[in-house]
Amino acid sequence: MAEAGFAIEKLSFAYGEKTVLEDLSLKLAPGRFYGLVGPNGCGKSTLLDLLMGNHHPAAGTVRFNNRPLANYGRRELARHLALVPQDFAIHFAFTVLEVVLMGRHPYLPRFGAVSATDLAIAEQAMAAIGIEHFQNRLVTELSGGEKQRVVVARALAQQTPVLMLDEATSNLDINHTMEIFNVAQKRVQAQGDTVIAVIHNLNLAAAYCDIMIFMNQGRISATGPTHETLTPRNIGEVFGVESRVALDEFSNKLQVSFHYGN
């Protein structure tokens, strides 16, 4: 039987001597918003890179839509999976529109020009993130937050069924953060897309994720529907902090509060 989405089996990965992921198995189905949480350095970004096919596993397999990731060509993969990386440095003075159009690269023949359709898709993506009014500015002159939104728009222009966000909103205020997560959520609910997001803010994760994946030291310590897995016990185990989880009436979402100070 064909199984859509990711199937990860006994995945291990190491940078040189340092093991980052160990014997990790996981299934990611389409039409869900996944939240990947865990302390710094626990292997979240590395897991995304392995799902993207940017790294090759030391052991185990990653299958996407029932086919090993290694069997996909790079361009083909880029038509299925998009990534908003943490590091969004853009080194030369391209305009915002030019950078967003780079999201169409996997669809363009080598010497092909950008078509009207590509342009329309890029404009749609910019409108969704609310950056169309500065599309002709140079990216090197934008603030960190503006650049980050450009990179998100570029990933949207890739029109992939899977969108991975690696702390994509770490530089943004709450207004723009919600804008991006709302767009992502809409794609999950309306088109059955998959979103896999590394999120540091647990309350943000609680508000948007259907399924949470708690990672610690290269392993998955808990995974399941948010209302089942977002518990003081799981949070304590992964982050080592005391917390309380309760339904917030105003947002109608689970929200976490902590013991601040000593």
């Binding site: 040189g16 880029a78 440095a89 003075a93 391209f94």
Partner: protein, 354 residues
Amino acid sequence: MSEHWGAPGNARSSIRYPTLTVVLLAAVVTAVIVATGMGYIRITVAEVVRVIAARLSGDTSLITGLDPMFSYVVMDVRLPRILTALLVGSGLAVCGVVFQGILLNPLADPYTLGISSGAAFGASLALIANLTLFGIYSVPFSAFAGALATLFVVLYLSSFNGQMSANTLILSGVIVGAILAAGISFMKYMADEQVGMIIYWLMGSFASKTWTDVAVVLGAVLSGLGVAIYYGRDLNIMSLGGRAADSLGVETARVRKILLITGSLVAAVCVSVSGIIGFIGLIVPHLIRFLIGPDNRNLAIVSALAGGLLLLIADTITRAILPTEVPIGVLTALIGGPFFCYIFRRRQRGAIHG
């Protein structure tokens, strides 16, 4: 914050890429003809055109009434030198575009990365050891091997944990370049008759170039330009960083390797023909990026034209205008060095405020 550079101000300059290409192309043709007329024996533009047209068409009636020596001076002395200077300038500029693009460093060019010194070291070694393994190609081949070996040493020195820092890259290039320069000095000390040849390598010169040189550099520059344009869009996307480029379907590792080797090949051929000529590869892509923006496909073409024009003008100044011929490498370093300082300074400021 991330490093950045490129056009300052709020918008890109209004000069369009097609306009600039046409203007530069016309300027190159004009410069070649005017420069051919300049020198110890003055030949008018009309006479130059007649000589070239006669040779191209084989119609000897075009040069009736002209001093027969003009034909020799134009076709066998000046044009090979002028075209070699033009093509070496193009080649170095294309190298600069490629290296700055893949290494994401505006200070990268064959000279600052030590590649030129590596090529000169290889060539000096071949000269002093009398290597004849590859016949007349022994010296250029050694230059190429030296360039490639230097590139790998520099890249190795500047990589830690698979990451390459832009600043350590230039530092490594300078260090390796200094060691190679010492090696070349030692060879100069050991060499007797060949010492003049080695000095020629270090200072650069277009004197007594032949049509063979023109053909060799033309081949290298055209293939280098072709590869740069072929991978131009990939190179654009790679300026977003390796992880982003990978996720957009660019085979970053492969493109990087192909372009590094291509750039080194072109640099090595240029250095093997003309000796070390610095800073053309540094200045030209900068100026052009400032004018037409950072799209590497257009940048490679326009930089090739502008680099050729610049070096041709510089060589004509030293050949026909200055009272004594200054080595061309010295001239470009005298102009390019301060420019390098300016970019470096601007980038430091950018790094602090950006």
